[in-house]
Symmetry: C4
Subunit: 290 residues, 4 copies
C-alpha cells in the first residue's frame, strides 16, 4: 500500500477500519507496529520450538514436566489467538486457510488440542516442530530477503549443473557400492551386508562424512576405497570451479543491482502471495488489487 | 539424418522401410517416438537396478524372493527383446555387437540365462548391475548433454592440474604413511600394521573422511597427524583457487557459447559413435554416411 | 609519532624523557627496540602457553612438576614486570587498565597469585590460557596486519550472507534432527535419544565431521541421512560460489590497493586504540593528540 | 646447453667426450636418450618403493621374503651404479655429493649395505623410502613442470594469507581445546585427558576429519562442538573466496603467459641447481658457465 506514490491521481484508496489496521500489523512488516509484531512472533516461535526440543530430553522432561507443559499450553494459546486473528483480518479467509502458511499455522496448534481428545497421541506431537517453518514468514523483516533471494536464484540458475553433478555422484555411488559389496560382502562378519548398505557407505565416504561404522577390511576393499576418495576429492574441485566461474561471469555482465526497497514485504491481500514488483498495481497471481 | 538441410541438391536420401523407422526410435532421440522409447527404457533400467539392489538385502530376499525373481525375468526378457531389436535394425550388426554399449547390453542379460545352465552361478549375477551404464546412453535425451559436456571439458582442461595435485597428494600419502608406520607401528596393538595400511589411513585422513578405525595413539603420532591435517587443509584451498581462477578467466575470453541443437543425439548408423558436428555429412570415426 | 612528516611546520613535538622512550618500546613496534621487545614478548607468551598445556598432561606433570612450576613462576614474574611497566609508562593509566588488553594482561597473571592465597584453586588456573590472546597484540609486528584486515573485512562484508547461510543450515538441522528422532528414536538402544541429540548428530553430519558415535541404524534413517549428505554437499557449492563471485567482482571495481606503511602499528597514547589513518593527527576515538 | 642459439657468435662451445654425452643423458632430459633414462629411472624408483611397502606387510613378507630381498638387492645395485655414474660424470663431484639430491641418492642405498655390517639394523631400513623424493628430480620430464610451478607460485603468493589463516585456526584450536578440556575433562572416563589431547580433538574436528575416538559426551560439550563446527564451516568459505578472488584478479592483469620451452630441465653443471632463465649464460647461484 505504502509504495503507491502520492502524486498519482488514481491511487488505490486506503481501506479504512481496524481490520485494515490489524491486517498491516499481522501480515506486513512496513510499519513499526508490524515489525514489533513480527519480532515478538519470532520470539514465541523460537521459544516454543526450544520447549519442544527440551521436552524430548528424558532427564529434563522428568524434572520440569509441569513447566514444559505449562509453557507449551501458553504458546499454543498464543498461536491460537494469532491464527484466529489472521482468519478474522484476512481479506479472503478460505484462501488464507488453505494457503501453505495457513495450513502450517493450523498444524502448529492442532496436535496440542488432539492430545486432549485422544490420550495416547503423544508421539504425534513432534509434528508441532513444523512451527519452525513459520519463522520463514517472519524473516521478511530483515534485509536478509535480498540475500536469501540471491541464494535461491543461484541454486535455481545452477539447477541443471547440480542435477548433472548429483547424477554422476549417484551413478558412482551405485557402481562403487556394488563393487564393494562384491569385494567385501563375502566375509562373514562384513558390515557390507547388502548393496543398499554398501551404497550408504559410499555416500557416507564420498561426502567425506566417514562415520566408521561401515569400513572396508580387506586390502582390495581398502585400495578401492582410497582410490574412490582421492578421485572423488579431485572431482569436487571441478564443479565448484565451474559454478564459481559462471557466477563470476554473470555478475560482471549484469547492470548494478538495486534492490527494491520495502516492496518484498508487501503481501497480496487476497492470496497472501509475496514477491510483487514495487510498481505492481495488481497481484500477479490472483489479479486482486494491491 | 534430420539435420541435412533441404536446399542442398545432393542431400543424402532418407532410407525407407520399417527398419529405418525403428532405427530412429531405438537408436536416436529426435522424434517423439524415440524420446518415448528412451524414457521407458530408462524406467526399465532403473526398475531392474532397484530389484537387483533389494535382492541383495537378505531380509527382503527371504520375504519377496518369488517377486524379485519374476521381476528380474520380466526385465531380462524386455532387455532381450530390445537387444534383438537393436541387432536387427542396426546397419552394421557386428560393429554394434562389439561396440562398448553392445557388449554392455549383452552382459546385462547373459548372467540370467547362465544361471539356468550353471546352478551355482548366483554370485556372478551381481554383474548385471552393469545395466546401470546403459542409462548413460539414454541420458542423451535431456538438455543435460550441454552441462555434462561442460563438466567433461572442465575435467579434461584441468587434467594436468589434477594430475599434479594428485601426484603431490600421493607423494604426501607415501611419506606421511611411512612416517606414521615408523612412529606408531612399533606398539603391539597398533592399527598401523604396515606401510600400505598407514597409507590407507593417510588417504582417509587427508580427504577428511576419517573413519576412526585407524587413528594415532601416541603423542608424536597425534602431533604429526594434526600437522598433516592443518597443512593439507590450507593446501586444498590453493588448487581450488587456481582452477576457479583459470575457469573464470577462460570463460571471459571465449565468445558466447551457442550449443548445437539436437545434433548430439545423432548416432553414426555404422559404428554407433556420437558427438558429430551438426553440419557433418560423414562419420568422423568410420567415414560412413550420416 | 614517527609518521609525522618533518617538513610540516606545526608538527607535534616529541615528548621527551625515559617514559616516552619506554612507551615506544612497549606499546609500539616502529623502532628496532620496539620490534625486539615484541618478539621476546611473543616468545614468552608462547613458552608460557606451552608450559600450561604440558602441565595438563598427567604423565608429564608427575615427572616434571617442579620444572613446570618454576617456569610458570618465571613467566608470571616476567608478565608482572611487563604489566607494571605498562601501567607506569601508559599516558592514561586507568584507561589502559580497563581496556580489553589491560584486563587480559591482569587475568594472565592473577590466577598464579590467587593460588598462593586460596590453596584449592588449581582448577581455575586454566584461565591463564587467556594469555594467548595477548599474542594478538604482538601480531601488529608483521605485514600480517594487512592480510588479517582483509580477512576481517571479507567476513564483515559477507556477514549477512553467512547469516542467511547459517540460518538455512540451522533450520535444516532442526528439521532433519526432528525427523531422525522420530524415525530412529523409537528403538530401545538408539543413540538418537532426544531432539537436541539428533540435532547434534545433524550438525556433525552436515559439516562432514562424522564422528560415528551417533549413526542411523534403520534403513529409513540411513536413506534420509544419505539424502541429507548428498543434498547438503551440493548446496555447499552454491554459497561458496556466490561469495567468491562477489569478491572477484568487488576486487575488480576497486582501485589498486595501497596498504599504508607502518601506520597500523601506531597506538593511541591515551586509549590504546589502533587503526588510525597514517595522516591522522588526533585519535579518532578519544581525540587525544597522536 | 642446447638452448644457446646458433647465430650468436660467442656461443659457449659444447664440451666433447663421453662424459659430456652421459652427463646429458643422466642429468638432463632434453635428448631422447635423456628422457628414456629418466623414464626407466622413475620405473626403478617406483618399483623399489612398492617392494619396500609390500615388505612391511607381515603376511606378504613371510611368503615372499626371498623375492622381496632379491628385488631389493637388484634395485640397490641399480641405484648404486647410477650413483657412481652421477659422481663420475658430474662436473663438480663434491658439490653434487653434498647437494640435496646427492644426499638423497646416498641415503637411498646406504641402509641396504649397513644391514650387511650391522645385523640388527632392519628397523632403520624404512629410511630407504626417501627414494621417493628422487621421483621429484625425474618429474622434470613432463609438461607437469609448468603446472607444478604455477602451484608453487600460488602457494608462495598466498603464503602470508595461509599464515594468517593458520594462525587463526591454531589460536581457535588452543582456545576451543582448553574450553573443552575444562568442560569435558572433569568426568572420570572422559577422552579429553589433557589440553594437548583436546587440541588434537579440535584439529580433527575443525578439519572435518572426525575420527570419533575422542568426542564430547556432555550436553554443554556437544553444544560447544556443534557451534565450533558450524562457525568454522562458514569461515572456511571466506578464505577460499579471498584467495580465489585474488587469483582471478591477478590472472586478468598479467599478460598471456608463455612458458619457456625446455629451459626448466637445464641443470647447472657445477651446483646442479635448476630454474635458470632460458637466456641465462651463467648459473645464478654459483656463477658457473651454463
Amino acid at each position: 500500500m505504502s509504495t503507491s506514490p502520492p502524486d498519482v491521481p488514481n491511487a488505490i484508496p486506503k481501506r479504512a477500519g481496524w481490520r485494515e489496521h490489524w491486517y498491516e500489523i499481522i501480515f506486513e512488516a512496513d510499519t513499526p507496529a508490524g515489525k514489533l509484531f513480527d519480532v515478538w512472533l519470532l520470539a514465541a516461535i523460537m521459544g516454543s520450538v526450544v520447549v519442544l526440543m527440551l521436552e524430548s530430553v528424558e532427564d529434563l522432561d522428568e524434572k520440569f514436566h509441569a513447566w514444559f507443559d505449562a509453557l507449551e499450553w501458553f504458546f499454543t494459546l498464543v498461536f491460537t489467538v494469532e491464527y484466529t486473528a489472521r482468519i478474522v483480518v484476512a481479506r479472503r479467509r478460505w484462501r488464507y486457510m488453505f494457503s501453505f502458511f495457513g495450513l502450517v499455522d493450523l498444524v502448529s496448534i492442532l496436535p496440542s488440542y488432539l492430545m486432549l481428545v485422544i490420550p495416547g497421541a503423544e508421539r504425534i506431537t513432534v509434528i508441532r516442530m513444523i512451527r519452525l517453518l513459520r519463522a520463514f514468514r517472519v524473516f521478511k523483516i530483515a534485509s536478509m530477503i535480498a540475500e536469501a533471494r540471491l541464494l535461491r536464484e543461484a541454486i535455481i540458475a545452477s539447477r541443471s549443473k547440480i542435477a548433472v553433478f548429483l547424477s554422476c555422484v549417484v551413478i558412482a555411488v551405485v557402481i562403487v557400492g556394488t563393487a564393494m559389496y562384491t569385494i567385501e560382502g563375502t566375509r562373514d562378519d562384513s558390515p557390507f551386508t547388502s548393496i543398499p548398505q554398501s551404497m550408504y557407505w559410499a555416500v557416507v565416504t564420498m561426502t567425506t562424512v566417514g562415520y566408521g561404522d561401515i569400513a572396508p577390511q580387506t586390502a582390495l576393499g581398502k585400495a578401492l576405497a582410497a582410490a574412490m576418495m582421492l578421485f572423488g576429492y579431485s572431482l569436487i574441485i571441478v564443479p565448484t570451479g565451474i559454478l564459481t566461474a559462471e557466477l563470476a561471469t554473470s555478475h560482471q555482465d549484469e547492470p548494478p543491482h538495486v534492490p527494491p526497497p520495502k516492496a518484498p514485504t508487501l503481501a497480496c491481500p487476497e492470496c497472501m502471495a509475496e514477491g510483487h514488483d514495487p510498481d505492481a498495481g495488481f497481484c500477479k497471481f490472483c489479479g486482486a488489487k494491491l
